[in-house]
């Protein structure tokens, strides 16, 4: 038989071997695909569930858990179920870093999220950057995270302190005056927040004094004595969590609410609900608020999540919700859970209204990985009608307006080659 070297016909043995191989694949490949499908997408969520910021952290964790359940009901991420691993940073930097290492090295998470405490978020970012793990900071506000120390693997959902200060300063100056007294926590968030307020106040010809206090301060009488002596137009309560609550209570107890206005960047709903009615006051930013008739998706979200959490959602629930959806969107755009691919994919990716829960073009800016969300400036008040109706929006500032340019933030984003 002559063998044709140009055309190699398939002989029976080869055909049988090929057939067996194809048949074998039909049996084997589902195992491979099925095995991949059974491996969940792991998101490590680090937050200070214990400590002075626990109320805020618990809201974030509630939002994250609910969002994860909803995503899993709708097929998960890339066809895989999502597993949320929650760890307590105990409001301590060392503990937060330890938990980040544990989640990455032992639990092999695909994504890290956290922390409410800016200092811990910043420290965790160091770990995730070194390990090349995709990291979203839902609620840590200090500027360097998406500013001077921005990293290719880290995105942030909540505002920077610069954005909050930029949004609320003109309103406070216009309504009350330019002589301010700051009550500020002595850590990363407080320093950058006060620096940003001072920069904007000085630009408007203002003057100031203030105290930097331990993050978990419980007695503010000495500081409030100083504030009263200074006679400011506005006292800015930059504290957070239980410290902010105690400061507000004592501010009202000392009768200072009759002598000076009150304001600041954030007075979160969790904290507002824990103070007496007289202290539910002042001018603040809200990063998201549940009453927003202009955006139908907000009502859908509120109606869906409220029964599960037993109350109206707050900005912290929203931060977790957007962050987890951002992972889904980034993974689907990148068709991968590889950190670098997701990082490239999420930059400037428009978030649909059912994810952003805001009007306008909301996206994580590619230049600094900061979410350009709207900021709601307004007045806190005692409940009107609904027990969670505590805030009246008077002005909405877009993220781009408040944040300025990428160059202003000092971020120089460098991706690995």
């Amino acid at each position: 038989m002559v063998q044709n070297t140009l055309f190699n016909p398939i002989n029976r043995r080869r055909l049988l071997k090929a057939g067996a191989a194809i048949g074998g694949l039909q049996v084997a490949s589902p195992f491979i695909i099925k095995a991949r499908g059974e491996t969940p997408v792991k998101i490590g969520f680090i937050d200070p569930i214990t400590g002075s910021l626990s109320a805020l952290a618990v809201s974030e964790v509630e939002g994250a858990k609910w969002t994860t359940e909803q995503i899993n009901k709708n097929g998960g991420i890339l066809g895989r179920q999502v597993e949320l691993l929650v760890e307590d940073s105990a409001n301590d930097t060392g503990t937060g870093v330890q938990k980040a290492h544990k989640l990455i090295e032992r639990d092999n998470v695909d994504v890290i999220m956290g922390d409410v405490n800016s200092g811990i978020a910043y420290a965790i970012m160091g770990v995730t950057a070194a390990k090349g793990v995709f990291h979203i900071v839902p609620g840590g506000h200090t500027d360097p995270i998406t500013g001077t120390d921005c990293k290719w693997n880290t995105y942030r959902t909540c505002n920077t302190t610069a954005m909050d200060a930029s949004a609320v300063t003109p309103e406070l100056v216009k309504r009350f005056g330019k002589r301010w007294f700051f009550v500020t926590p002595d850590y990363a968030y407080g320093h950058t927040l006060q620096d940003n307020f001072v920069k904007r106040l000085k630009a408007l010809g203002g003057e100031f004094d203030g105290d930097m206090l331990p993050i978990a301060q419980s007695d503010f009488s000495a500081t409030l004595i100083k504030a009263k002596a200074y006679k400011p137009n506005v006292i800015l309560n930059n504290m957070g969590g239980t410290a902010q609550i105690n400061c507000m209570k004592q501010y009202v107890q000392f009768g200072m609410n009759k002598e000076m206005a009150l304001g600041g960047a954030l007075f979160e709903i969790e904290s507002a609900k824990a103070v007496p009615k007289e202290a539910q006051a002042g001018w603040w930013c809200q990063e998201w608020y549940w009453q927003n008739p202009a955006v139908p998706a907000v009502k859908t979200f509120v109606d869906a999540i409220s029964p599960a959490i037993g109350k109206k959602p707050t900005a912290r629930h929203w931060m977790a919700y957007v962050s987890i959806h951002a992972v889904k969107l980034a993974a689907e755009a990148a068709k991968s859970l590889d950190g670098l691919k997701m990082a490239h994919a999420l930059g400037d990716l428009p978030l649909p209204p059912e994810v952003s829960l805001m009007s306008g073009d909301i996206r994580y800016r590619a230049g600094d990985h900061q979410l350009m969300s709207n900021i709601f400036v307004g007045e806190m008040h005692p409940p009107e009608g609904d027990p969670d109706a505590l805030f009246r929006v008077e002005a909405t500032v877009t993220g781009e307006q408040a944040a300025g340019s990428v160059a202003d933030t000092g971020c120089k984003m460098v991706y690995p080659s």
């Binding site: 105290d211 206090l213 419980s218 000495a222 500081t223 409030l224 239980t242 824990a274």
Partner: protein
């Protein structure tokens, strides 16, 4: 500036009075039982939470009366069931045990009442300042100082004039002899622990009215209590009283010049005392051995 200093001095004495109440309870337990109760701050939190539960039914005054007794009963039970088993062991056991109890109690509070801060409603009139000039001295703070004064006087009277009190004082000095004289030392320790817990519970109700409730509230107050005891002298209740007032005033005055150090200054004082006079201001030598 002088007015600022005087105001802060007054404020520091008020804050210090509160530290005294916490520290005295802790000191009682250390002196007789030799147990450093790391869970003491959590007894404070429990007292506050008991008051929170009772206030809707019996009002603030009723809750103030009952909650410390409930805390005392809880402390008594805890001592009888758990803590007494480590008395004859190395000190490290009691440290670890009470350290673990602190976490258990804190998480229990979080589980039962939630992680979010809760307010304890006090009568409206007490929230007002006593005068316009002394705006930082509210009627509630005056009331707190009055309660602390009565509690401290009551404690000293209890220790001086009651049989149990005399036995506790004697036991602090020489427990073996007290036992040899036929006193039931086990019961004595239990009652002593209950008294210490009572004081923590009372401090908890007062604190809750001022700063509200949260599961971690004891953590922030336990360290100043320890420092008050070290500064005043282990084994001396009068020293503890002085130590509490001293650190309260020091913290308040530091806020005038360098607020960020208002927490750190009490540790600096502790370090200085340990270096220069290790037994404390009024402590006796050898009390820690």
């Amino acid at each position: 500036m002088l007015q600022l200093v005087m105001f802060n001095l007054t404020n520091g004495l008020i804050v210090g009075a509160f530290y005294v109440l916490m520290a005295l309870g802790l000191s009682l337990i250390i002196n007789l039982s030799g147990v450093v109760n790391f869970a003491h701050g959590n007894f404070l939190a429990l007292g506050g939470y008991f008051a929170f539960m009772l206030t809707p039914y019996i009002g603030f005054w009723g809750a103030l009366l009952i909650s410390p007794f409930l805390t005392a009963i809880f402390g008594y039970a805890l001592e009888k069931l758990i803590i007494r088993h480590v008395y004859m062991r190395n000190h490290i056991y009691s440290l670890l045990l009470t350290f673990g109890l602190a976490f258990i109690l804190q998480d229990s509070c979080r589980y039962l009442w939630g992680p979010s801060p809760l307010p304890l409603t006090i009568p409206d009139a007490m929230s007002q300042p006593i005068t316009a000039d002394l705006f930082f001295v509210t009627w509630y703070r005056v009331f707190m100082v009055a309660v602390v004064t009565v509690a401290v006087a009551g404690l000293f009277a209890f220790l001086r004039y009651t049989r149990i009190g005399m036995r506790i004082r004697a036991g602090t000095l020489d427990l073996d002899t007290v036992s040899a004289l036929g006193v039931n030392v086990a019961m004595l320790r239990s009652y002593n622990f209950a008294v210490g817990s009572f004081l923590a519970g009372l401090a908890g109700v007062l604190a809750a009215g001022q700063i509200g409730l949260n599961p971690n509230m004891g953590d922030d107050l336990i360290m100043p209590s320890f420092i008050a005891i070290i500064v005043g002298g282990v084994g001396s209740l009068t020293g503890t009283l002085l130590g509490g007032l001293l650190i309260g005033v020091a913290s308040a005055l530091t806020t005038v010049v360098y607020p960020a150090a208002s927490d750190a200054v009490i540790y600096v004082i502790m370090a200085l005392v340990l270096l220069l006079r290790p037994r404390g201001l009024l402590g006796e030598e050898g009390m820690l051995t």
